[in-house]
């Protein structure tokens, strides 16, 4: 591809030098913005599909697998509510997102970020 720069380090004029491997390793590998019912992906990268499993549960599938099933990530809900969001790393290609208030699940817009090494 045109415009490729191959470098092992980036140097700032004031803040020192950083190995580019940290940029690659530390960048978000999967991201998505999904609607409250899990039926629409508004914005995404490295996502193949979304499944509306039931009330308050959505499953996100990746195009490029992660290397391990112990990847890190975060999921947030778009609106203020009593619900807590949590993310379950099911496999190297799937994340399950939940919206739960301690007694019941509720539909919510979900904002996803997955970090880790790619396969």
């Amino acid at each position: 591809m045109a415009g490729k720069i191959i470098a092992d380090q980036i140097q700032s004029t004031t803040a020192g030098t950083l190995d580019t491997k940290y940029v690659v390793t530390g960048s978000v590998k999967v991201r998505a913005n999904t609607n409250n019912t899990g039926t629409t992906i508004n914005e995404s990268f490295n996502v193949s599909s979304l499944t509306d499993v039931t009330t308050g549960q959505q499953d996100l599938y990746f195009t490029n697998n992660m290397s391990t099933t112990t990847w890190s990530g975060s999921i947030d809900l778009r609106s203020v509510s009593d619900d807590n969001s949590f993310l379950d790393p099911i496999s190297t290609s799937r994340a399950d997102g939940y919206s739960y208030n301690g007694s019941a699940y509720h539909d919510n817009h979900m904002l996803w970020m997955i970090i880790g090494d790619l396969a």
Binding site: T37, N46, T51, T55, N65, S93, D117
Partner: protein, 184 residues
């Protein structure tokens, strides 16, 4: 726009190229499936950027690559993928129609236990429909299921992917399964 020659290019980089150069495609198709008798029906929708890649061709790996990685992952000793190169080095598939893309996605993202015998039983465990055919509200969402009136006449099988790619997939997959003992 022509797709660059991507065989050997990291899939992650290909997805960046697609994001920069292809318009997302929102499909009207939905895949409704029942994973087990105690759970409500699940509804799968394709990602618009992924669908653009599938229609464009030359970007996505063949679906069997994901099956092999899944078999690796199901092995009890699995720690991390050591065959990620399959995603990057295997020759990408050509352009698909929207219908073929949905079929690919079923084989990739719907549990194998659902699609390999989806049409055995009193009613299919999986149907493809349009968005407009789904309930218009979320009422009783946790009780949704595939209607008893649905009858599927689709007889497409996994073997058709083999023919398409000229692979002896049955043998390849069988070897992986025997090794991993996942579905044995």
């Amino acid at each position: 726009m022509n797709t660059p020659e991507f065989q050997g290019t990291n899939l992650w980089e290909r997805l960046h190229w697609a994001k920069d150069n292809l318009e997302p495609v929102q499909t009207d198709y939905r895949v409704v499936f029942e994973n087990d008798v105690d759970s409500p029906a699940s509804i799968l929708v394709a990602d618009p950027n992924w669908m653009a890649c599938a229609l464009q061709g030359g970007i996505l790996p063949p679906v069997w690559v994901y099956w092999l990685l899944a078999a690796d992952e199901a092995h009890p000793d699995f720690k991390k993928h050591t065959r990620g190169y399959l995603l990057h080095d295997t020759r990408p598939i050509g352009p698909l129609t929207e219908e073929q893309a949905i079929e690919y996605l079923i084989y990739k993202d719907v549990p194998r236990t659902v699609w390999e015998n989806y049409n055995v039983g009193n009613k299919p465990k999986l149907v493809i429909c349009n968005k407009s055919q789904l309930p218009q509200t979320r009422e009783w969402r946790n009780a949704w299921g595939i209607s008893d009136e649905v009858v599927s006449g689709n007889s497409k099988t996994v073997q058709q992917i083999e023919k398409q790619d000229g692979l002896d997939l049955t043998e390849m997959f069988s070897n992986e399964l025997n090794r991993s003992k996942v579905y044995a």
